[in-house]
């Protein structure tokens, strides 16, 4: 089968390792340039289906701010971002909220939870 190489930049940490993945069809057969296990896993995954943590805000009432920062607890497929944002836009939470609190159990059918990424007091 024809081999193809892909150049990637690891997004796991700020180091931004430049990783080369050799693909055979849909399968990654060789990964070089990573400097940790996370990086290797990232590259394998990235070459088949890029996954990202989603960070955004949801509406919050009875707090000092109007929006609460939230993030997906784990990576979700990059390509679902539009649907995920549609869901996020419909959410309203009420203060108080504490960091890590689950805002939505299953984001966009991914099975990943959306959690508060800071605490917010009630006013």
């Amino acid at each position: 089968m024809k081999k193809e190489t892909k150049q990637l930049i690891c997004v796991n940490c700020p180091k931004g390792c430049r990783i080369t993945v050799t693909m055979e069809g849909e399968k990654a057969v060789e990964v070089t340039g990573y400097s940790c296990e996370n990086g290797k896993n990232y590259a394998m995954q990235e070459s088949v289906c890029p996954m990202r943590i989603l960070t955004t805000t949801v509406k919050i009432t009875q707090s000092t701010l109007r929006v609460l920062p939230v993030m997906s607890e784990k990576e979700i497929p990059l390509h679902v971002w539009k649907q995920a944002m549609e869901e996020v836009r419909k959410i309203t939470v009420q203060a108080p909220v504490s960091i890590g609190q689950v805002i939505k159990e299953d984001l966009c059918g991914t099975g990943v939870r959306l959690i508060a990424s800071r605490s917010m007091k009630k006013v």
């Binding site: 805000t57 509406k59 109007r66």
Partner: protein, 475 residues
């Protein structure tokens, strides 16, 4: 029915409004922009020239000298900021020194004080002066002011005395009536005995609404400037080159608040074009090196351009329009228009308004206004007294310029209210500093929305349509 409609709320219109408000007269000021002093008055060199420059026999010469002498008491009455910096006119070489002699002659005739310095003496006082400088005249009574503050206080004074101010009101048409005029805007009209055309670069447009035979042209000329942060003070005097045919040349001006202006160039332009240009800014940077060396241009925090209304008569045009009795042009008011403004207003009152309307003085009229609270200018004891009365005086919103929330609120509720972010900036300075509103603009915007009772998405930077936010993101 008004006695007088003033078109344009720049320095001329507002000073005139104030003067007229001392009489029993019904006066309206009609302004196209969202704030007073939003045109030429907002973007100029901020100098009260003493009057050595205009040629003999001109209105400019007469009114400049007269106006400059009126300023000290005016600034005091209206509690306006000013700084007597002096003005160095800098000659490099024999030929330019000859021009200095001409200026000295004029100054002697007009009673304007000055002192003469050698190049070396001058460099001691102004270390950034170019080594090419051979001789300097210091017109040491020259002042810098905050032009829009003066216009604003004049307008407030007038409004307190009963003058009506119509902002966002562009004059579209003027009808001659049996007696007087009907001045139309897009949504209302004003019937009036007299019209005073103080519309700056747009004065010809207004003139043409009543007369088809205008005998002057106004060519707008753009001047571009750099503003340096007040963390550097390269000059303590205004520094001019020897004046040339295109005007006073590129100068450095230490402003009232410690910033330094560098500019202007002079470029003919379309009426309302206040855009800056790469060529113009480049020209300013180059021209300043004629008089000053090693200027800290890296401390630039803003560039801007202003327009001057240069007429083909090269003099102020203050006259009644032929065939339009009671319709007065105050046109071609370019430099030294700011310095001449009090005298121009005076002249209009005495030469045109009094003979036509014979108004009686209003003894109840105030000649001053309550100045706003400026926390950074008070002693700590006084600051604490203010904060005890109103804690928001202790909440600093703008850290570049040290402005409290209450000072911003105050300016939104004064007789001529600030209704936009720029209007707040002009009055109390948040956004004038090195961060240019990066930190404080969101706070200022919120305060404006709250105090004006409008949505945050309706708050404008300056003119209608200049909204800062397009929508609430999570409804």
């Amino acid at each position: 029915m008004f006695d007088i409609v003033i078109i344009g709320a720049g320095i001329i219109g507002t000073m005139l409004a104030r003067q007229l408000s001392f009489y029993h007269l019904k006066t309206a000021v009609v302004e196209r922009n969202s704030d007073v002093a939003d045109g030429t008055t907002m973007a100029n060199s901020a100098i009260v020239h003493t009057g050595y420059d205009p040629q003999d026999g001109t209105l400019k010469a007469q009114l400049n000298v007269q106006g400059a002498r009126m300023y000290p008491s005016l600034l005091q009455q209206l509690h306006c900021h000013h700084k007597t910096t002096g003005a160095f006119i800098v000659a490099c070489g024999k030929k330019e020194e000859e021009h200095l002699s001409l200026l000295m002659q004029r100054a002697d005739q007009r009673g304007i004080p000055y002192r003469v310095l050698t190049g070396q003496q001058a460099i001691k006082e102004e270390p950034h002066l170019s080594d090419q400088v051979t001789k300097v005249i210091d017109f040491y009574t020259t002042q810098v002011i905050y032009p829009w503050e003066v216009a604003l206080r004049c307008m407030e004074n007038a409004v307190n005395n009963g003058t009506k101010l119509y902002l966002n009101t562009e004059v579209t048409r003027i009808e001659k009536r049996e007696t007087g005029y009907r001045v139309h805007s897009h949504d209302r009209f004003f019937d009036t005995e007299m019209v005073i055309n103080c519309a700056g670069v747009n004065a010809p447009l207004i003139h043409d609404m009543v007369d088809a035979h205008r005998d002057y042209e106004i060519t707008p000329r753009k001047g571009e400037y750099y503003v340096l942060d007040h963390d550097c003070t390269p000059v303590s005097h205004i520094v001019f080159p020897v004046p040339g045919p295109a005007g006073k040349g590129v100068l450095a001006v230490p402003t009232v608040y410690g910033n330094t202006l560098i500019g202007p160039n002079a470029l003919e332009c379309d009426g309302d074009d206040v855009s800056t240009t790469p060529q113009g800014l480049q020209a300013v940077r180059k021209a300043i090196t004629k008089t000053l060396k090693d200027m800290p241009m890296g401390h630039n925090i803003r560039t801007f351009a202003g327009i001057r209304a240069t007429s083909n008569r090269h003099d102020f045009i203050i006259e009644e329009v032929k065939g339009a009795p009671g319709f007065i042009d105050a046109a071609g008011i370019e430099s030294p228009g700011l310095a001449s403004a009090p005298a121009i207003a005076d002249r209009i009152v005495h030469q045109f308004v009094e003979p036509r309307l014979h108004p009686s003085a209003n003894p109840q009229a105030e000649t001053t206004v309550q100045p706003p609270v400026i926390m950074s200018e008070l002693s700590i004891e006084k600051q604490n007294e203010m904060i005890r009365k109103n804690p928001l005086y202790g909440k600093i919103v703008c850290r570049c310029e040290n402005v409290s929330e209450q000072e911003i609120i105050d300016c939104i509720h004064r007789p001529v209210p600030a209704t936009t972010i720029r209007a707040v900036k002009k009055r109390v300075r948040p956004g004038m500093g090195r961060c240019q509103g990066g930190f404080c603009q969101p706070s200022v915007l919120r305060i404006l929305a709250r105090e004006l009772g409008i949505a945050e998405t309706e708050v404008c930077l300056n003119e209608p349509g200049s909204t800062v936010l397009v929508r609430e993101n999570r409804l």
